[in-house]
């Protein structure tokens, strides 16, 4: 696998990029480097933001010497990358189970997704809850996980007009991606189910239940189980 390119993301950050495709092996490298950068705890590190095939490193330029602080940061990142090349094996990651009540009121688009994919609703549920997903990144809104590993047969286009309010916990498919809306808000993905679990709460530590680099599995539950779990969460 080739080394990432390094470019400027303004004058307070740099961006490393490993090509232009959302690939599980590449994304694992992004999270591995993010973890090693955090562990190095450089005094200039402000934020370290992983995405599908890129990693932004935000630095405090006031604490860095020289005419171009990014050069110092790039050098440090390159040294960590060189060390990474010599290591082998994937870093272990957590497996988080997310209970999902598919279809009905909780997944209003399940039947549309099934007919678009020429599958039954039960087959969509089976194919959606079978794989182990990788949390490629959190974004869009606080705690929103973008998951890699969706069955290619389940890819469906987004809604032509986004919903004004998607209920918190809704599980959706948008193109070849799947994810969970942690909080109520607007959204254009097709909703196939909903989890009673609270994925993001700013008052909690850590605020996000699912972290970048984690593995996720969806566990189907019925409406009664949803209700019981929902009451326990709130």
């Amino acid at each position: 696998m080739s080394a990432p390119t390094i470019e400027r993301l303004g004058d307070q950050a740099l961006l490393l990029r490993w090509g232009d495709s959302a690939d599980i092996a590449v994304n694992r490298r992004v999270h591995a480097l993010a973890g090693r950068l955090r562990a190095a705890a450089a005094p200039w590190l402000v934020d370290c933001v992983p995405a599908y095939a890129s990693l932004a490193v935000f630095f405090d330029s006031a604490t860095l010497p020289g005419e171009d602080p990014m050069a110092v940061v790039a050098e440090c990142v390159s040294a960590i990358l060189a060390g990474e090349e010599r290591r082998s094996g994937a870093t272990p990651s957590r497996l988080v189970e997310i209970a999902v009540c598919y279809g009905g009121d909780h997944g209003p688009d399940l039947d549309d997704v099934a007919s678009a994919c020429r599958l039954s609703a039960a087959q969509v549920v089976e194919r959606h809850s079978r794989p182990e997903y990788l949390v490629a990144m959190l974004g869009f809104s606080p705690g929103f996980p973008y998951l890699l590993g969706l069955d290619a047969e389940l890819a469906v286009p987004r809604l032509a007009t986004p919903r004004v309010c998607v209920p918190a916990g809704s599980v959706g498919i948008g193109g070849a991606q799947t994810g969970v809306y942690p909080n109520a808000g607007p959204g254009g993905w097709r909703l196939i189910g909903r989890t009673p679990q609270c994925l993001f709460d700013a008052r909690r530590a850590p605020p996000a239940q699912v972290m970048p680099g984690d593995r996720v599995r969806f566990v189907p539950i019925d409406a009664a189980q949803f209700q019981a779990l929902h009451e326990r969460e709130t």
């Binding site: 470019e7 400027r8 993301l9 303004g10 004058d11 307070q12 950050a13 961006l15 990029r17 232009d20 495709s21 959302a22 993010a34 402000v46 934020d47 370290c48 933001v49 992983p50 995405a51 599908y52 095939a53 890129s54 990693l55 932004a56 935000f58 330029s61 006031a62 005419e67 171009d68 602080p69 990014m70 990144m137 959190l138 974004g139 869009f140 809104s141 606080p142 705690g143 929103f144 973008y146 909080n183 993001f200 700013a202 008052r203 850590p206 605020p207 996000a208 972290m211 970048p212």
Partner: protein, 340 residues
Amino acid sequence: MTLEVLAGGLQTTVQDLGRFGYRHLGVGVAGALDGYSARVGNLLAGNPENFAMLEIALHGPRLRFHRAARIAITGAELDAQADGIAVAGWRQVDLPAGCELVLGPCRRGARAYLAIAGGIQVTPVLGSASTDLRAAFGGVSGRCLVAGDLLPLADTSPVGAADQTFVCWKPAAIPNPATLPTLPTPAPWWLNPEPDLDFKHHTPIRLLPGRDAVVPATALCSDAYRVSAHSNRQGLRLQGPPLTLVDRRERLSEPVAPGTVQLPPDGQPIVLLGEAQTIGGYPRIGHVIAADLPRLAQLRPGDTLHFEMIDAPTAHALACAQRQRLTRMALAIEQRRRES
């Protein structure tokens, strides 16, 4: 000890310098969009740079101080009256207990800052008092101020809160109510925010190149852009001659930052501000330098701006120069206080 909101204004929020360290969880920075004015406001009020204050967009609130307070108004020029007495910006002002502060429309610039000695005491969320309007947390329940809100003010000096700043925070900076005048009293000296703010828009907004090129390469910097009314704390939507990308393929979503200039398919750039999302999929054609984010935040709907592409060492020199001006201001304020 509270600050009572009699009228909320157009979009008044509690902000500090932002929420850092959580962008990997999709939590953006938020914070004062014009961090320069926010810093100077806190210095004038006798606070560390990062204390919570009010950010006021386009039209200000009406407030009642239930105790005497030292304040400073910075950022946009706005009409301000304390018990009917006009109060100018960029200086410390001592207000008596019970004073009603009426903040009117912004005359020049888009965002004014009201700093109060001791800061506004809201419960920090993820390490910051800043209101994130899109995520709906921080500040006062993650929303703008409305009539009836009561904001707690510090009634004792939080000694030891001054770490991380280059200004030593003297607890005595909170004026002693016994020695306060009964009328609003502005200091006889003030600060000049130029060149860090410039409401005449003479200086172009400077940027570093982004990953994506437009044709012709100089297009972004050759025409003037107008700020659209659909702008908000997340970003400024610009209107001008549509720009065309060299490479129009779909992009994989990548991290973005305040200052990132995105180009959606309609060819009209969006410049992200402090409440930017953490990740974006639009092509990025430039990044406004940190030293120019304050001037960007002061642009109003209908204002025009020009861009100028610069190189990284110049951007760094401009950031250093701005920090040095802030340091000199802090020293000058200290000296004035000692003399008075």
